[in-house]
Symmetry: C2
Subunit: 285 residues, 2 copies
Amino acid sequence: MYKNCDFIQNINDELWLTEKEGENLTLSYRLKEIIYEENSPIQHILIVDSYDFGRMLVLDGIVQTTEKDGFVYNEMICHIPLSLHPNAKNVLIIGGGDCGVLKELSKYPSLNEIHMVEIDKSVVEASLKYLKGVSGGKIDKKVTLFFEDGIKFIQDKKGYYDVIIIDSSDPLGQAEALFEKDFYKSVYEALKPDGIMSCQSESPIYYSDVLKNSYDSIKELFPLVKLYSATIPTYPGSFWTFTIGSKKYNTVARDDFSLDTKYVNKNIINTCFNNAEFIENLINS
Amino acid sequence: MYKNCDFIQNINDELWLTEKEGENLTLSYRLKEIIYEENSPIQHILIVDSYDFGRMLVLDGIVQTTEKDGFVYNEMICHIPLSLHPNAKNVLIIGGGDCGVLKELSKYPSLNEIHMVEIDKSVVEASLKYLKGVSGGKIDKKVTLFFEDGIKFIQDKKGYYDVIIIDSSDPLGQAEALFEKDFYKSVYEALKPDGIMSCQSESPIYYSDVLKNSYDSIKELFPLVKLYSATIPTYPGSFWTFTIGSKKYNTVARDDFSLDTKYVNKNIINTCFNNAEFIENLINS
């Protein structure tokens, strides 16, 4: 099955997945087995079980999330904007096919409506079936899934959402447009007058130009912009950032945060916008 | 020259260094060139120039520090204990051969005496000559270097130091004893009655047992123990922790912090002890 992927190799009877992080760095994970493989109309989908990171979702050869460290990303991109907004009811996820953000959103009984627009239905189906450690294996009743292009989807929405979470892959190929100002403008317009967006804004070490462009674009549109970071071992450089654009709310102070989480807690929420000096210098330059 | 290292390979005219992170993960860095190689009586020393991380110090095939991300580790292991202590004069580094911590300590004009005890003189000499991006290339006048076993060295010192920084490699081979309670006890006794120690306490993902043992040992000895973390891309799992044992001082509040740094700033100092939930659960279990 895995003979179709040049990034999977059998070396001395051991199965290894080798991921290229740019031209000058590779990460190789020893695998227990290949769980699922599919060539969807959009991309090559692989779910593998690795020794060090448990099951992993791999799209076109790039590790997207793992059972071992996926919680860091999913909790940080979700609970920080939800903590900033005092009364979110309607939330949209753009991307998010592994359903990890959906799982985090299902922890909020106060939400009325959760929409997710994901271009590749196959990723959602495979993640729900074979990646339950990330997805939870099921979808909340409040959730409506839209399998279409997020960029087109958002253009028809005006003033509808309290929070929009942009859970995109790296800015390569089709995902590139999800880091551009035109797209953030559509997101701005789809939010209510006190709405908040969050997005992953890449590594300050590997993709500092992407981070900076994304931050600057959001800053031009939203009156309030904030950046925060977390360590995600399976992402290149591991140092990962998230950016928030907010129309009104500026302060997180959630001493009552009590959701069942593995990374985020009230101290993380209250202090996450304190960035390392080189990141502050980058976004303020 | 590099033919002696099985972890350096020439693949299609490209030079690659492959580092094993345990049995199930490898990281491969593309290199520009080998800068320096030596078999010292202690270990195999290699300094290489890599495309993504600049010059790197590699001991027995393990990347110890790089020009690109070494500042995170060196600033965090140094400036947090120095911020906690209101009036440090005598500081000891145990290990620290790459001289990165020495460079950070040289930023404090208020210090009287800086001792460093490092078992391998060759690492210090190579780092000062070929790894100036980390070491700074020179040593402060206040510094006295001792090239001997840190464990024996510390046993003769009683109540002498304000701050002791344990800058060790991973707990393998000779460095293993630097994570044991007997050693922390010697460190405790070498400190003044209001002294503070800091050490690297490994990854909460890859070496959670080492972290936990180290934390518990320090907690049994010192009335105050604190853990903090940072992202270090070239360390396995990238999520790295540091532990502080303090005899007296408990609060960092350094709104006057103004040293020339790339990672640490006053906000990082004031909030660094807020750990992710899974780390809090680990150290409080």
